[in-house]
Symmetry: C2
Subunit: 415 residues, 2 copies
């Protein structure tokens, strides 16, 4: 069974918003092993929408459409679906109550043009939308001797996503007897192309599971994805590949993380081993602490963070020596060490982590260029320093520094 996604929305064509709907639905369909062959976007133009629908149904078994369920004359996706299956539009009493209920709660009188939201193609399964007036629908029928399914969903993600999770995926599951399951391997200390080349033979040879890389600031993620009749069977297929990948990258450079986030692995380890932590950040300016704090329950071990942007604050708050700053500069291994130690001392924690560097666009020199960053983790009486030379925008350099600091927490604990 193959599917395609059609998103109706002029704001997408203007580039005002990014099409997260197409990604969301594609991902959910992939998880139940339904192949998506196309995604399309069209504006609120009836003639063009009609044309896109015709094209979509001519080449796909399932067409999932978002948008076009509103109350205006331009909202015609239901009419087009009725025409495709050659049925008439019929009034739905429950949808009338649904729309009226929402209007009475939030907006006052029931506007006459909202009556459009109470009509559906005859025979469609109507899906109650708890988050908006536009009920959704699923219609199954035969066309050109084949089974075709049309699914119409509202455009706003907060309305569309619960309908996909709670209605569409359970419905479509009956047509698929396979599941797709993946694990994410985070790889650090190795650049994207170097990492890819180390396992190119596997990437090219593997068909089930597949291995796909995703680069990002300071780390590469390899997703290992298997397709099988059950999640357990998927895991069995994934296991040997995962082991081989970790063997090649080295276990100090590669680890499995469900969310694919470096901070989650660091937070897990800190909580698991009950290691208290403090941060001392210069160029990252609170990115390290705010990423750590995004992990629920972290308050048990995260004690305090210091954003010591000025030299004075490094001296006063973290006890960095004035001589160190004068002799080596704020961006130096020595300052990073004193910052990490100072944070742990000031907050009374087991572990201190620091970042200091030049994020740019200004402030670089030949000796210390934009992108030079020193990171230190002080833990168990030992200093672990890492120097990186990042390239890219201010944001990218700061992100990479934060990711590297969070990963250094992990590797120091695992050591």
């Amino acid at each position: 069974m193959n599917a395609e996604i059609l998103c109706v929305g002029t704001e997408l064509l203007h580039g005002d918003i990014v099409n997260t709907n197409a990604q969301y639905i594609s991902k959910k369909l992939a998880e139940i092993a339904i192949d998506v062959h196309y995604q399309s976007v069209v504006g609120d133009n009836p003639a063009r929408i009609k044309q896109c629908f015709a094209t979509a149904f001519s080449r796909s078994d399932v067409v999932v459409c978002t948008g076009g369920l509103g109350p205006t004359q331009d909202d015609i996706t239901k009419d087009v679906l009725a025409e495709y299956f050659d049925v008439k539009m019929v009034y739905d009493e429950e949808s009338y109550h649904h729309v009226r209920e929402i209007y009475s709660r939030f907006r006052g009188d029931f506007p006459q043009n909202n009556m459009r939201q109470t009509y559906f193609p005859e025979g469609a399964v109507i899906l109650n939308n708890p988050n908006g007036t536009a009920n959704a629908c699923i219609m199954k029928g035969e066309a050109d001797g084949k089974m075709k399914i049309g699914i119409l969903l509202p455009g706003p993600p907060k309305e569309m996503e619960p309908l996909v999770d709670n209605e569409v995926i359970p419905y479509l599951k009956q047509f698929s007897n396979q599941v797709v399951f993946g694990e994410k391997l985070i790889v650090v200390n190795i650049g994207e192309s170097a990492a890819e080349e180390m396992i190119l033979d596997l990437i090219e040879k593997q068909t089930n599971p597949t291995i796909a890389p995703y680069a990002g600031a300071g780390r590469v993620i390899f997703r290992i994805t298997a397709k099988a009749e059950s999640k357990e069977k998927c895991l069995e297929l994934i296991e040997p590949i995962k082991e081989e990948l970790i063997r090649r990258f080295g276990s100090e450079n590669a680890y499995v993380a469900e969310t694919g986030k470096v901070e989650d692995k660091a937070a897990e380890l800190l909580l698991e081993k009950n290691i208290t932590v403090a941060t001392a950040e210069s160029l990252t300016g609170g990115l390290v602490s705010s990423k750590l704090i995004s992990y629920p329950g972290i308050s048990k071990v995260f004690m305090e963070g210091f954003v010591t942007y000025s030299n004075e604050s490094k001296i006063n708050t973290l006890n960095v020596k004035k001589e160190t700053l004068e002799k080596y500069g704020a961006v130096s291994e020595e300052t990073a060490k004193e910052m990490a130690y100072g944070a742990a001392q000031a907050a009374g924690t087991d572990l201190g982590v620091s970042t200091t560097g030049i994020a740019g666009p200004d402030g670089g020199s030949e000796e210390k260029p934009v992108g030079l960053v020193y990171i230190c983790v002080y833990y168990n009486g030992k200093y672990n320093v890492k120097e990186i030379r990042a390239t890219g925008s201010r944001e990218i350099i700061r992100e990479r520094a934060a990711t590297t600091a969070l990963d250094l927490i992990r590797s120091c604990i695992e050591k």
Copy 2:
């Protein structure tokens, strides 16, 4: 002149990544008043790519395609374009040197299959890609008695985006005699639907400029966009609408910000008036400081940030009174005040800003539910406190708290 965008990439169809390329190109084309009527995504499947190209050229003057310029047999967009314009593929010496140069720098030997990257449709303008091996191209010709333009770009955003900015947009500008220019109005203290209803008559009546809302954590942005023969003429059209919007929302709740970022407005004001600043964050955990520090040059006024997550750190670092914490709790107006004051004192700054609240998912009570946040700005001897009750995930609550804190800095300075 109308355009459409075709993105080739299986990872998009799997939902592994979101299609930022389509958004980027759409936005840039909108700025030079070229209408985008469709966006499509197709996988690395030659037959389907060919079909999509044919459909695209049958309905659009310009087809901008990303992806499919790699060295493998599946990378066929150039061949398809040559076929469409009925020309042959020809060898390009400069592209050969380009690919060889990059290989010699990064990867060693020139692999034989990369020869594909040195052939282009005859007559195409070849665009040098400084960030990767895949050179891009633009091909103009006549088909069905109409002028058609095909533009082929590499898929990775860091390669594609500079080519769009430096080559494609300057090239396409010659076919457009209009520009589109917009201004962003940030609206705070008013919810999305309430704000929209306050100006619904304008949104519905206006065609040039148009007014479009974008909601986000803690603020709504209205983009006012005009189309005219020059940027100056656009600004003339925008001015009266902007004034009317500010009049309706109140100037304390609405302001223009080029980037649409609340933190940039706060940073601008701090720098302009040379007001030094320190932060004291609990639930936001460094988000406020890291957003402020994303503004280049902020080091002149940003002195220090404290992430005081534990009660001990609030007491030891910020001098929050133990009695205050015991009597009112960490999440209270009183604690927020002492945190803001304490941060300004500890760092010796003119202004101190604090956040304290319950981000969830746990930790809420009937009296103090998840989402309750107190924010305080201490400035000029005065305390400005704001209480918010946010809903949504941990991330959304933290984002909204940070946005509100940054906006409170602005409103306190402007007062």
